[in-house]
Symmetry: C2
DNA sequence: AATGAAATTACCGCCCT
DNA sequence: AGGGCGGTAATTTCATT
C-alpha cells in the first residue's frame, strides 16, 4: 500500500469536502453534489478509504449534552522525551481526546474534556503521578468558536509569499 | 426545547460509545451490540440526535494523506476580548480547525492543520493582520499519539478526592 | 437495470405509573 | 386508562453487482 497511491483530483476533493461535513449522505445524494452517478461515487469513496484518505466515520457528540461541559488544553513538561508507556496509559481515559508531542517550551500537549473542575483536578493529579512529569500549564476553554475535524480544502492564500514589509516575530 | 431533555441511561451511553468510534454501523449491528432490535435502536439514535446529544456524523480525513502533514496549536494574545468579526473571518480558512477563548496567559487558542511550514508562516502573517492581535506562540506537533473526538465514557477515577498528601502546583 | 440489504414506518403488546 | 418503550412485520429506499 503506497503512501500516496494516487493524486486527488477535483472530484475527490469535493467528495472529501462533503463527507467531512456530513458523512451520512446517500451515494445518490453525494453523487448529485459532485456530478457523478451513485455507483461511480461509491467507487470513489471506496478508493478514498482504501488509500487511507478517509480513516472512518464517527458521530460528533456534544460535550455539554453528554455531561462534559469543561474543555481544557494541558501543556506538560516532562523530563524524558516522547512516548512513555506510563503516559500512553492515560489514553484509556475517555476524557483524554488528544495527545501530541510538540515543539516549543513544553513537551506534550493534551486535550481533555471533563465533567467538572473537580474532574480536571483529578486528571492533573493523575498526570502528576506519571513519572517524568515535571510541571503542567492548563488552558481552560471559556468559549468554543470553532471545532471541527480535518477539512479537505487548501487555501492558496496561505502559500503566497508574505509581504516582508509587514513582518512579525514570535517573542 | 429543554436543556437536558431526558437522562441518558446505560443503553444510550453504550450507543454513544459505539457511534463515536464507528458511525457507519447498521442499526441491526448496533442493536445487537447494545441488546436491542434494529427499530428500537433507530428510535434511540433518533432521540439522541433530536436531543442534541449527537450533533452529526463526519468522515475522519487523514491529514498527511490529503496534503496537510503539519499540525500546530497557536496561542494568540489579543488586546480586545473575545469574538471579533475580523477574527471570525479566519473561520473560512479550511486550515483552521479550532478556535477557543481560554483562561491563562493567552486569550485565544487555535488549532491549524497545514500543507507546510511555509503555509504556517502564511497563516501567522494572516493572523497578524487582524487588528488587536498582539503576539502569538506556536506549538508544532511532532508526533500525534492520540487524536479523537468527544468520547461517551466518564471515569469515576477522576472524581475521587485527590490524595492531599501528594499535592501539586501549577507554576 | 436488477438484486439483496438496510432504513424506516406501521402496528401491536408489555410494563409501570 | 395512559404514556413510554420495545418487538415483529411490511414497505420503501439504498447499496452493490
Amino acid at each position: 500500500m503506497p503512501d500516496t497511491p494516487r493524486l486527488l483530483d477535483a472530484i475527490d476533493r469535493r467528495i472529501l469536502g462533503e463527507l467531512c461535513q456530513k458523512a451520512d449522505l446517500s451515494f445518490a445524494e453525494l453523487g448529485e453534489r459532485v456530478g457523478l452517478s451513485a455507483p461511480a461515487t461509491h467507487e470513489r469513496v471506496k478508493r478514498l478509504r482504501a488509500d487511507g484518505r478517509i480513516k472512518g466515520t464517527t458521530a460528533q457528540l456534544d460535550g455539554p449534552a453528554i455531561g462534559k461541559p469543561l474543555l481544557a488544553f494541558v501543556h506538560v513538561d516532562t523530563s524524558g522525551w516522547g512516548k512513555s508507556p506510563e503516559l500512553m496509559n492515560l489514553t484509556e481515559l475517555p476524557e483524554l481526546e488528544e495527545m501530541h508531542s510538540v515543539t516549543g517550551d513544553t513537551c506534550m500537549l493534551l486535550k481533555v474534556r471533563l465533567q467538572s473542575s473537580q474532574a480536571l483536578e483529578g486528571f492533573l493529579s493523575r498526570l502528576y503521578k506519571v513519572t517524568g512529569v515535571r510541571a503542567t500549564r492548563s488552558y481552560v476553554a471559556l468559549s468554543t468558536y470553532l471545532e471541527r475535524g480535518v477539512q479537505a480544502g487548501i487555501s492558496e492564500e496561505l502559500l503566497e509569499t508574505p509581504d516582508p514589509s509587514i513582518g512579525f516575530v514570535e517573542p
